[in-house]
Amino acid sequence: MNIKIAYLYDDLMNLYGEIGNVNVLKYHLDKLGINAEVFKFSVEDDVDIDLYDVFIIGSGTEYNQDKVVRDFIQYKDKIKTAIENGKVFLCTGNSIELFGNTITDSYGSINKGLGIFDFTVKHSKQRIVDDILFEFPEIGKSIIGFQNQEGFIENYEFNLFNVIRGFGGNTNITKEGIHYKNFFGTYVLGPILARNPYFLEYFIKCIIESKDKNYQLKPIDLELDKKAYNNIMERHYPKYL
């Protein structure tokens, strides 16, 4: 099996170690005997969206996000088709905002988003900063990570995670993130896959199934990752382990 990973805007949306997600996927796909290739694209490149199986975008400064959304919008239809066709997306931090209708920055100027999901984004100078503990209901496991954002999504029913600690949506504060087909978008920052081995396992299966539903997957070696995860859970959130 060949898997092509597109790491989008790696030189602009890279504020919180998002490259970790890319490296972790590449590491495990290689170990599983799958030929995984990573391609980096940014504002000066032309991307043939159809060629890739997995898309990863991280978080950026507001200045960089602005630069990115103006470029990304040219791929609007292709990205929409890719999502509808079950291609896998992982969007962390403020990259989730790119997929809504508009982004209004803290000075009031408005940028158009891709309009794939029906929401608007507002930025304010009051940042939301906290450790998060969410539950991923698909596997009944907790997600650990961090939020540090100046934007929030208005009027959208989040559905990816259940909020235990941290900031959810403003329509329903008990939920966070967007899960649609194989699109995963969350304000959780950075290397979410590296820190959450159960989610990583689920995510890898998603990628494989998106290519071949009958593929016989070998076990994924996450022993060390699970020790690290359990250690954090025992120290900080023993009730939720």
Binding site: D10, D11, N14, L15, Y16, G17, N23, I144, L224, A228
Partner: protein, 444 residues
């Protein structure tokens, strides 16, 4: 004002008796007298040093240089760099009418507080060291820090900037007098970028991708935009040669300066302090003398021998990938068998967050070569560090996890060979050094 100063001075006096240097007197006086800063009569020379890192070292070196050159100097040498700390510094150095009794005021200023202080303190010279990823829960991100510093700047302030840093050039788009320091290409420079997830890849003027003739580190180097006129400015004061074996750098081809530790940021810090003094036309022989006698930084990083093995202790700041990347570049200098220890007591002493995303901004992959025999991942987050090493490509057999530093050091001493690199947060420097000394006092 008189009354506020009297109270403030009394609190400074009490603090001295109790041996408690703190920013409390300033805090109290600022509450009593909101326009305290406005009413202070400042000396003719006010020098501020701000930016993400290096403020303490550079401002200390500048203060030492001015003293050596015959000036009296007020300096917040203990690093109390917020409003209250600066107010305390002024209280310590003013008379009851609010007049500063020193020739020069040298302030290390927190990058988020410059905007409050500069409007009244009005420094003649502002050294902006760098803006790097640092404490995101507190700082947000680099662009926010840039905006905060920019708000503080005003006409009449003369900026001292690193020419090798493209990000800092954003400050020059407004009409300031700027003096640059920088470093020529040398044997430690390289041509292909070694780090991921950096702060600036595109021209801050026109937005096109920057090209590099060479790099010194991360985004520092000789950059140019092929689309517009933006390029590395020619430094007024240049590090023309580095001799890290003897910890000596040469400025402008003739001034030999001792650097406290043979690492890049010590070079830039020294160059910044030299540039400030040269710009102010201090006698350069005194400047060289002051720098060469400077005590700055010697406690931060150090090298010593442990039973024929060289030990390098590299102090880093958690939540600041740049400091770790710097240590990685240092570690890679020698192609010799080595073991590495990475760890910390706590992620932050300022707040209770457990964010570790910055671990993935650090290019640990560079250390995964034939020379690294083992990586000790130590402390409360030892497992998290170990996972990071796994994804940096280290064979899991080479990764050791220890919760306790003493257990890790004991294993490292007894079961490994080769040079030792401790790439640790600053809170592990002293404990590590102490453990290395146990049972081996003569060797240290």
């Amino acid at each position: 004002m008189f009354f506020s100063i009297l109270i403030g001075k009394f609190l400074v006096f009490i603090g001295k008796i109790l041996h408690k240097g703190s920013s409390k007197p300033g805090e109290v006086v600022l509450k009593m007298k909101k326009d305290f800063f406005k009413n202070i009569k400042l000396p003719k020379k006010v020098i501020a040093v701000t930016g993400s890192s290096g403020k303490g070292s550079i401002s200390t070196m500048i203060a030492e240089i001015y003293r050596k050159s015959g000036f009296t100097v007020a300096h917040n040498s203990k690093g109390a760099n917020l409003n209250s700390g600066i107010a305390t510094l002024l209280l310590e150095n003013c008379n009851l009418r609010g007049k500063i009794k020193k020739d020069v005021l040298v302030c290390e200023v927190d990058e988020r507080f410059a905007k409050y202080l500069f409007k009244d303190i009005k420094p003649n010279y502002v050294v902006i060291t760098n803006i790097c990823r640092d404490q995101p829960p507190r700082q947000g991100n680099v662009d926010i820090v840039y905006e905060e510093i920019e708000k503080a700047l005003d006409e009449g302030m003369h900026l001292i900037l690193n020419a090798d840093d493209p990000y800092l050039q954003k400050f020059t788009f407004a009409d300031f007098d700027v003096t640059y320091y920088g470093m020529d290409k040398n044997k430690y420079s390289y041509e292909k970028n070694k780090f991921d997830s950096l702060n600036i890849y595109y021209c801050p003027k026109c937005g096109r991708k920057l090209k590099y003739n060479f790099y010194h580190f991360e985004t520092l180097g000789d950059y140019t935009c092929e689309n517009c006129s933006f390029k590395r400015p020619k430094p007024n004061y240049t590090v023309t040669d580095v001799d890290y074996d003897n910890s000596i750098i040469t400025m402008n081809g003739k001034y030999k300066l001792h650097v406290p530790f043979a690492i890049l940021y010590a070079t830039y810090n020294t160059a910044a302090a030299f540039t400030m003094a040269a710009l102010d036309e201090l006698p350069l022989d005194k400047v060289v003398e002051a720098i060469n006698e400077s005590k700055t930084n010697t406690k931060i990083n150090n090298s010593y021998m442990y039973q024929e093995r060289k030990v390098n202790v590299l102090s880093n700041k958690n939540e600041n990938s740049t400091t770790f990347n710097q240590s990685i570049l240092f570690t890679k200098r020698e192609d010799k068998e080595r073991v590495i220890l990475i760890g910390w007591k706590e992620i932050s002493r300022r707040y209770v967050y457990y964010d570790l995303s910055w671990l993935y901004d650090i290019a640990f992959e560079n250390l995964n070569d034939q020379y690294t025999q083992k990586v000790y991942c130590v402390g409360e987050n030892g497992y998290d560090i170990a996972v990071r090493m796994k994804y940096a490509g280290f064979d899991e057999k080479k990764i050791a996890y220890y919760e306790k530093l003493e257990d890790a050091v004991s294993d490292l001493k007894n079961n490994t060979t080769g040079d030792i690199y401790a790439i640790v947060n600053f809170d592990y420097v002293e404990p590590f050094n102490n453990l290395m000394m146990v049972g081996d006092k003569n060797e240290h």
